[in-house]
């Protein structure tokens, strides 16, 4: 015979039954719908799947166990127990906590893919490409509507100048991974120096496309180095492990691959400074070597010595001229005296021979002078070209010409004087003797010596630039104000002449 009971008894018995059945402390997955939150803090909603539904309640104290606010449409896994509400006899699922469904699966998938690709060697450091130091073209794979691309553009503005090419892609949701792969491939075909694959922060599901295998493989297959910049600094994705470089954030990516512009400028300038300093020290040591060779290339030394030599040449020709005239006069007298004792034919013949010899001497002297001056000018042309900066080098030809003409003048002056001696001798019709020959020879050789001395000088046409030098009344070159006194008469030698001056005032440098 069947048992008879009240409704309340039935409900209580079912409630007890459920406690002992396998419907307590279980995970139920479904989608939330019709959720209502009451002032008490309790939530009432329906959990459903495609073929069924169950009423559910989440009490305020249980809400504290959860990390997210439940909303309609959320796919969740709810932990709790089935229970009966005795007042209505309806059964409901009492939720103690909930998590978004699929998350656990995603973590498992993430770890599985990570270890598989790692095993395969996709993350090996040895496989990673080097970042270009100075990329001129940067490719970016990201959403064209997000903040990320603008952050990258802004951050790179003051850095090493590079063009930015955006290959727009989806960065979340179904199909996003494929558009990321397409972007990487497109930029490889298009030609850039480095590719940034970027996305802003988000949940694990939001970032999921960057955890997909096809993205990892596209990054590895890329010929162009790839930088990943996905999510926040604490988020790691498979793309991060596959990329050649991981940037903590999209903004960080631009800063990582582009050096600060002013830093690069100062690098270049400091290298140039090093070059300049080295060059200066090379040219200094070259000057030292020249000095060691006894060839001081200082302006005043060159000038003084040159003018002294020129004067010596002048003086020498003057003196030899006088000496020769004297000798020739004496010789002439002797010839006259002797001529009576000699046949005129023989005298003439002898004369001709001797004057020919003198002519030969004088032209030898002129030739020697000429070749010495050529050697000097070409040697100085060369060394000056080495020491002088480029600007002055172009000026050198003019100076060399001026030098040539100066040396020409000296040579022709000397030759003239020699000739004059010849002429006089011939005119006198005297008989040259051994002494005269000796003097002529000495003259020629002093000319040679004097001009050889010119070789040691840098004959830049310094005087024409407005320099002069000063000699004392005794003819000594003055190099210091200390050797002058008030009232002294001095001679100022310029390019084209000289002037006598009186020292009016004198002041010494401290």
């Amino acid at each position: 015979m069947s048992e008879t009971m009240t409704v309340t008894q039935l409900n209580n018995r079912v409630k007890t039954l459920l406690k002992h059945a396998s419907v307590t402390n279980i995970w139920v997955s479904g989608e939330i719908s019709g959720i209502k939150k009451y002032a008490s803090g309790h939530y009432y909603f329906t959990l459903k799947d495609p073929t069924g539904a169950v009423a559910a309640v989440l009490f305020a104290r249980s809400r504290q166990n959860m990390t997210f606010e439940p909303r309609d449409g959320d796919k969740v896994e709810a932990f709790g127990s089935a229970d009966v509400y005795p007042q209505t006899g309806k059964y409901q699922f009492v939720v103690e906590t909930m998590r978004r469904s699929g998350i656990g699966d995603l973590y498992i998938k993430f770890e599985e893919l990570k270890s598989r690709l790692k095993e395969e060697g996709l993350f090996d450091e040895s496989r990673k490409r080097k970042m270009p130091l100075y990329p001129r073209r940067i490719g970016v794979v990201t959403s064209e509507s997000g903040a990320v691309i603008h952050d990258i553009i802004t951050t790179s503005a003051n850095r090493f100048p590079a063009d930015i090419f955006l290959a727009p892609s989806q960065v979340q949701g179904e199909g996003a991974a494929k558009t990321i792969v397409a972007g990487i491939e497109l930029l490889n075909r298009f030609g850039v120096d480095v590719i940034i694959v970027a996305r802003g922060g988000g949940s694990l599901e939001d970032l999921w496309p960057f955890n997909e295998e096809i993205v990892a493989r596209a990054i590895v297959a890329s010929k162009t180095p790839v930088v990943s910049a996905v999510g926040h600094e604490t988020d790691f994705t498979i793309a991060d492990f596959s990329a050649d470089l991981r940037a903590p954030t999209p903004t960080g990516a631009a800063a990582l691959i582009l050096r600060d512009r002013t830093e690069v400028v100062s690098d270049v300038e400091s290298m140039m400074l090093r070059a300049t300093k080295t060059l200066e020290s090379v040219s200094r040591s070259m000057e030292d070597r020249l000095e060691n060779l006894g060839k001081r290339v200082s302006l005043s030394t060159v000038m003084n010595e040159m003018y002294i030599r020129v004067m010596q040449v002048d003086d020498l020709s003057e003196r030899s001229n006088k000496a020769m005239s004297l000798v020739m006069e004496r010789a002439g007298n002797r010839v006259e005296m002797a001529s009576s004792r000699m046949s005129s034919g023989r005298t003439e013949q002898w004369m001709e021979h001797k004057s020919g010899y003198l002519e030969d001497l004088s032209s030898r002297a002129a030739r020697a002078l000429r070749s010495v001056s050529d050697a000097a000018s070409s040697r100085y042309g060369l060394s000056a070209a080495r020491i002088m900066p480029e600007a002055i080098m172009s000026d050198m030809d003019g100076k060399r010409l001026a030098l040539d003409s100066m040396l020409d003048k000296i040579a022709s002056k000397a030759a003239d004087k020699m000739k004059g001696c010849d002429m006089r001798m011939v005119a006198i019709g005297s008989r040259p003797d051994k002494a005269m020959e000796g003097i002529a020879e000495r003259l020629a050789s002093s000319l040679e010596t004097a001009s050889r001395n010119l070789e040691g000088l840098n004959p830049l046409n310094v005087l024409s630039r407005g320099y002069g030098f000063i000699t004392s009344a005794e003819g000594d070159v003055l190099t210091s104000a200390g050797s002058m006194s008030k009232g002294d008469m001095v001679t100022i030698h310029m390019r084209d002449g000289s002037a006598v001056a009186e020292v009016k005032e004198k002041e010494m440098k401290r």
Binding site: F165, L166, S283, R386
Partner: protein
């Protein structure tokens, strides 16, 4: 270097990437610093360094960077201004 040589070198440098030119600049400076070059060679190295430096400066001073969006279309890759 005479004018022709330095023009030829400048042309060569014009084709270099920034990285290449800064590397060459660096190695020239190191060669110069290492010593063993006479004044002629030193001058030539220095002239080359100046040309390389000017090339680098030109790149660095160029404020005109391009920001483009690229899309694959049936008629190839199309560039459009971005922003």
């Amino acid at each position: 270097m005479n004018e022709e040589e330095s023009a030829r070198f400048a042309e060569e440098v014009g084709k270099m990437s920034f990285e290449e030119s800064i590397q060459q600049l660096e190695s020239l400076v190191e060669k110069l610093e290492a010593g063993g070059t006479d004044l002629d060679q030193s001058l030539e190295i220095y002239e080359k360094a100046v040309i390389l430096r000017n090339h680098c400066k030109k790149v660095l001073d160029d404020g005109q960077r391009r920001i483009k969006k690229i899309l694959e279309t049936s008629s190839g890759v199309v560039e459009t201004d971005f922003e």
